[in-house]
């Protein structure tokens, strides 16, 4: 498997759009071009592209810019829910498969959103521990310390539970 395909599949595992046993779900930075490249090796990736563009566009780095160059993708996504306007296939894949993936992904995101409620906790940390936490947040590309802590907890639990 090409490294780019592995990277995309790991991210799609993370997004719960595709599953590939043996690959770890990882929130990696991906681009549309990488997705299209990886889809040449694993065609099921094509079915997930419209879903991600429609319902989690922030999940694809530099999307707006790259989408300008990909008119085929842009047009398909624009008309995906209009059977008369959309092309019957998307890179050779049945359009209906893309529609199903998009609808299921949207349902999953709505369900997840309705369940996630955050509570506020106060932690007592030493200055240097806060500095280390901030440094770690920057290194792993998290926007805030809560996000970093959530990632660390999830990773540790996954490690302990095998």
């Amino acid at each position: 498997m090409k490294p780019v395909t592995q990277k995309i599949l790991e991210r799609l595992n993370y997004e719960k759009l595709l599953m590939t046993p043996g690959l770890h779900p990882r929130k990696l930075r991906i681009t549309l071009e990488e997705m299209l490249e990886a889809a040449k090796e694993e065609a099921r990736i094509y079915t997930t592209i419209p879903a991600l563009i429609l319902f989690k566009p922030t999940g694809i780095y530099r999307l707006v810019k790259d989408l300008e160059k990909q008119s085929k993708v842009r047009e398909f996504v624009k008309n995906i829910f209009q059977p008369k306007l959309r092309p019957p296939k998307f890179f050779g894949i049945e359009a209906q498969d893309c529609v199903n993936a998009a609808e299921n992904y949207q349902r999953f995101l709505l369900h997840k959103k309705s369940k996630t409620k955050f509570k506020t906790f106060t932690f007592r940390l030493a200055e240097d521990e806060i500095t280390k936490l901030k440094k770690l947040s920057e290194k792993i590309g998290k926007h805030n310390l809560s996000d970093t802590l959530r990632t660390l907890v999830a990773e540790k639990l996954r490690e302990l539970e095998g």
Partner: protein, 158 residues
């Protein structure tokens, strides 16, 4: 056992527990109890649940060819949704070879789960030769070249 397989099996265990609880309520009400449900899994998910020498990529759909009780179906759909999965239970839309072989992978008090053999799943995919399945079929035949003729016959409905 892969993480996905564990996740999926835990869904069936939860379904069984919820059915048991539901039956306790129904018993108190004097209503008819839920009967044991048989789930026959086909499609990509069946490949994930089988042990193959390569890792097949799958969409999040759980394709079944079983007719489930309405309440059970609703509960299963919700349990799967928690895991980002989706239940596809339209037996009339799924073509599988005649006499498809199923292996029982789980037998609980109220739920039993069977998965179609990889050979039959590949035969059903071979019949339609959709682009999304091309790599999968090629990988499978590369791993099991001796099964090619049999798969072609099964795909033709023989």
């Amino acid at each position: 056992m892969s993480f996905f397989k564990q996740e999926l099996l835990s869904v069936f265990h939860q379904l069984n527990e919820l059915m048991e609880e539901r039956n306790q309520e129904l018993r108190k009400m004097g209503s008819l109890l839920l009967k044991k449900q048989t789930l026959k899994i086909v499609g990509q998910m069946a490949l994930l649940l089988n042990s193959l020498p390569f890792s097949p990529t799958s969409t999040m759909d759980l394709d079944t060819v079983s007719k489930l009780d309405f309440w059970v179906q609703q509960v299963l759909e919700n349990l799967l949704l928690e895991q980002g999965m989706h239940l596809e239970s339209d037996p009339h839309l799924i073509w599988m070879p005649r006499n498809t072989q199923y292996d029982k992978i789980l037998n609980l008090s109220l739920v039993e789960v069977w998965v179609a053999s990889p050979e039959d799943v590949i035969a059903s995919k071979y019949r339609f030769k959709r682009k999304k399945d091309e790599q999968l079929i090629a990988k499978y035949l590369q791993a099991f070249p001796q099964q090619k003729e049999k798969i072609i016959k099964r795909a033709r409905g023989k």
